[in-house]
C-alpha cells in the first residue's frame, strides 16, 4: 500500500514526500531507468499541491536518486553508493594557477527574500531574510568566476557590513564569527550560463561553463548556499579525500 502524507506530522510536506519516493526507489518498486509519475499525477496520488512535489523531486535530483530530462520526464537514476568506505572529504577553495594575480569585485551585498528554489536549497522558511552576496573573481583582470552566496540574515547579520572584497566568506564566518563549518556538500556540473553570466564572464554565446553548488553546514543547520559559475578554461579543482580513522 502506498505511504500517505500525514498533515498532522510536523515534518514539511515535501520532506515526507521525499522520504516516500526515496523508499520506492530503494525498495526497487520504481526500477532504475523507469519514468516516475508526472508532477500532476504525484499531486493527485498524494493529495498535495505542486510546490511540495517539485521541492521533493528537486531534492532527490540533487541527491542523485532522480534525473530530469527536458520534455521527457523524471527518471530513476543508477546510484553508486560507496558503503563501507566512509570518507572524510576536506574541501580546498578552488585553486587558481599559482603565481597569478587575482582580485575580487563585489557586485552586490544586500538583503533579499528567497526566490525560485533558494528556500529549498537552504532549507529555510519562504519568508526568511537572506544576505545576498554576488562577486566576480578576476585573474590578471580577466573575469573567471561569478559567485553568488545566500546566508540567512539571522545567522550572521554582521556580514552585511563586512569587507568581502578582501576577505573570504568562509573565513569570516568561521574565524571572525565563530560559526564552525562542519560539512560542505558540493555538486559540480556543466551548465549553460544565463545571459548575464555570459556577459560578466566574457564568455562566447555558445560556450558552456562549470557550475559548482555548495551547501555549507554547521552541525545540522545549513548556514550558506553558494552558487559559482566558472569559465572552464581557467580553473581546476583540488578535492582531497582522506580515509577517516575507523
Amino acid at each position: 500500500m502506498d505511504e500517505i502524507i500525514n498533515r498532522e506530522n510536523p515534518q514539511k510536506l515535501y520532506v515526507q514526500l521525499e522520504e516516500i519516493i526515496k523508499k520506492k526507489i530503494e525498495d526497487k518498486e520504481w526500477a532504475v531507468g523507469s519514468k516516475i509519475p508526472t508532477e500532476e499525477e504525484l499531486c493527485k496520488i498524494y493529495g498535495v499541491s505542486k510546490a511540495p512535489v517539485r521541492a521533493a523531486i528537486l531534492e532527490l535530483v540533487r541527491q542523485g536518486y532522480l534525473m530530469r530530462q527536458q520534455g521527457k520526464g523524471t527518471f530513476v537514476c543508477k546510484r553508486i553508493i560507496s558503503e563501507g568506505l566512509t570518507m572524510h572529504t576536506s574541501f580546498r577553495e578552488l585553486m587558481l594557477e599559482a603565481g597569478v594575480s587575482s582580485s575580487t569585485k563585489v557586485l552586490a551585498q544586500t538583503v533579499m527574500m528567497p526566490v525560485d528554489d533558494i528556500d529549498v536549497k537552504l532549507n529555510v522558511p519562504e519568508d526568511t531574510h537572506l544576505i545576498y552576496v554576488k562577486r566576480l573573481r578576476l585573474v590578471e583582470d580577466e573575469p573567471v568566476l561569478l559567485q553568488e552566496a545566500y546566508i540567512p540574515h539571522n545567522i550572521c547579520p554582521q556580514l552585511l557590513r563586512e569587507d568581502i572584497e578582501n576577505n573570504s566568506l568562509f573565513e569570516l564566518i568561521e574565524k571572525k564569527y565563530g560559526i564552525k563549518i562542519t560539512k560542505i556538500k558540493d555538486y559540480i556540473e556543466v551548465t549553460t550560463p544565463a545571459a548575464d553570466e555570459v556577459k560578466l564572464l566574457g564568455l562566447s554565446g555558445c560556450s558552456g561553463a562549470l557550475l559548482l553548488e555548495q551547501h555549507f553546514y554547521s552541525g545540522d543547520t545549513q548556514i550558506m548556499y553558494m552558487r559559482s559559475v566558472k569559465r572552464p578554461d581557467r580553473f581546476r579543482f583540488l578535492i582531497e579525500l582522506e580515509r577517516r580513522a575507523a
Binding site: 551585498q109 544586500t110 527574500m113
Partner: protein
C-alpha cells in the same frame, strides 16, 4: 502634544518587511508578496515590500497597489474612460475585460524599480514625530524610512504609530 516623542521612539524594525533588490521582476515580487505578506501568520501593516540597491541602500517601497498598477499599463496612465462613469455600464464591462489581460503577463517581467515608490523622504532618529506626520500626510506615504546620519537605514515609521501618538492628546484633552 506628544512632547519629546521622536522618530526612534515609534519606529519599527526594517526586518518586519520583506526585502528585494531593484532588479527583481514584478513577477518575482508577486511571489514574495504572496509568501511573505499574504500567506504569513503575522499581520503586516501596511502590506509592502522594501526595495534595495546592491549595497543595501533603500531605494523605495512597493505596495500591493503599486504591483497592480505595474501590471496594468492602463493604470499607469489613467484615462477618463477608466474612471467608472455610472451611466455607461455596458461599455465599461468591455473595458474591464481588457484589464489584466495578456499585457499584464508581459508587464510582470518589468523590474520593480519601474513601479516602486521611490524613497525620497525620510526622517532622522531624533527628529520629532510631528515632522514624520507632516511628510507622510503631504506625500501620501504609508511608510517613512528613518535614516541615521542621512545614510544608514535603521527603521521605519508607520502612520498607525504616528496617528496613535498624535491623536492621544486630543482624547486626553
Amino acid at each position: 502634544m506628544s512632547k519629546g516623542k521622536v522618530a526612534k521612539d515609534v519606529m519599527i524594525d526594517v526586518f518586519e518587511f520583506p526585502h528585494i533588490p531593484y532588479w527583481f521582476s514584478i513577477r518575482q515580487a508577486i511571489g514574495i508578496a504572496k509568501k511573505s505578506l499574504l500567506s504569513s501568520e503575522k499581520c503586516h501593516h501596511p502590506m509592502a515590500v522594501l526595495v534595495f540597491d546592491e549595497k543595501y541602500n533603500l531605494l523605495g517601497t512597493l505596495s500591493l497597489k503599486d504591483i497592480l498598477r505595474g501590471l496594468e499599463p492602463k493604470f499607469l496612465k489613467p484615462t477618463t474612460k477608466a474612471q467608472v462613469p455610472a451611466e455607461d455600464e455596458s461599455g465599461l464591462s468591455l473595458l474591464w475585460d481588457t484589464l489584466f489581460d495578456k499585457g499584464a503577463k508581459e508587464a510582470a517581467e518589468k523590474p520593480v524599480s519601474e513601479v516602486m515608490v521611490p524613497a525620497k523622504f525620510f526622517v532622522q532618529p531624533d527628529e520629532p514625530i510631528t515632522k514624520a506626520a507632516y511628510l507622510m500626510v503631504h506625500n501620501d506615504l504609508a511608510l517613512l524610512p528613518v535614516l541615521e546620519n542621512k545614510k544608514k537605514f535603521v527603521g521605519l515609521v508607520r502612520i498607525r504609530e504616528v496617528f496613535d501618538e498624535l491623536s492621544s492628546s486630543i482624547l486626553e484633552g
